[in-house]
Amino acid sequence: DVKVTQSSRYLVKRTGEKVFLECVQDMDHENMFWYRQDPGLGLRLIYFSYDVKMKEKGDIPEGYSVSREKKERFSLILESASTNQTSMYLCATAIFGDEQYFGPGTRLTVT
């Protein structure tokens, strides 16, 4: 079974802090994705990566950056957290063109 783990289930940070969310997968998938999910807005793609050190912007990349130094690890970075980044963050992995496997999510609160 594919396992996708995220570093925290719940996280509380202060405005202006730098925040790191980490995602690790154990299935050697090329593609990894970061989404955020908000009530009424659904899942929105922040960034994705199709190979080590490769990254592509999704629909809402502003205020975020990513890092993929190793194939199994994809990090989402909030450079300076703001209250409008309070959300559920979901990491996913996939082989090309196939189903995505999601992690359990990190519920981030920025105060």
Binding site: G42, Q100, R107
Partner: protein
């Protein structure tokens, strides 16, 4: 831009009946369409994938249809059970985002005994 619409209102049905959820899309012709289940506080779980050249796909009590002319997919759960209560998301491959998916906002299904 690509738009995906799912019924925003919750669907309430009685146990044993067939639940039918709708996914409509515009401004794009996807190569495939996927359905996911999401329980509260958890990540989505993949259910079925159907490709543009397939009209129907089944998996146990689940059935998905894909009508590229109507730009619509229907997701059916037969002999529904209370354990099927969840939010169901449809997703399409994005036109400009490689293998990333564009998700609908989901439809909440409640199956009552």
């Amino acid at each position: 831009s690509q738009k995906i619409e799912q019924n925003s209102e919750a669907l309430n049905i009685q146990e044993g009946k067939t639940a039918t959820l709708t996914c409509n899309y515009t401004n794009y012709s996807p190569a495939y369409l996927q359905w996911y289940r999401q329980d509260p506080g958890r990540g989505p779980v993949f259910l079925l994938l159907i490709r543009e050249n397939e009209k129907e796909k089944r998996k146990e009590r689940l059935k998905v249809t894909f009508d590229t002319t109507l730009k619509q997919s229907l997701f059916h759960i037969t002999a529904s059970q209370p354990a099927d209560s969840a939010t169901y998301l449809c997703a399409l491959d994005g036109p400009n985002s490689g293998y990333a998916l564009n998700f609908g906002k989901g439809t909440s299904l409640l199956v009552t005994p």
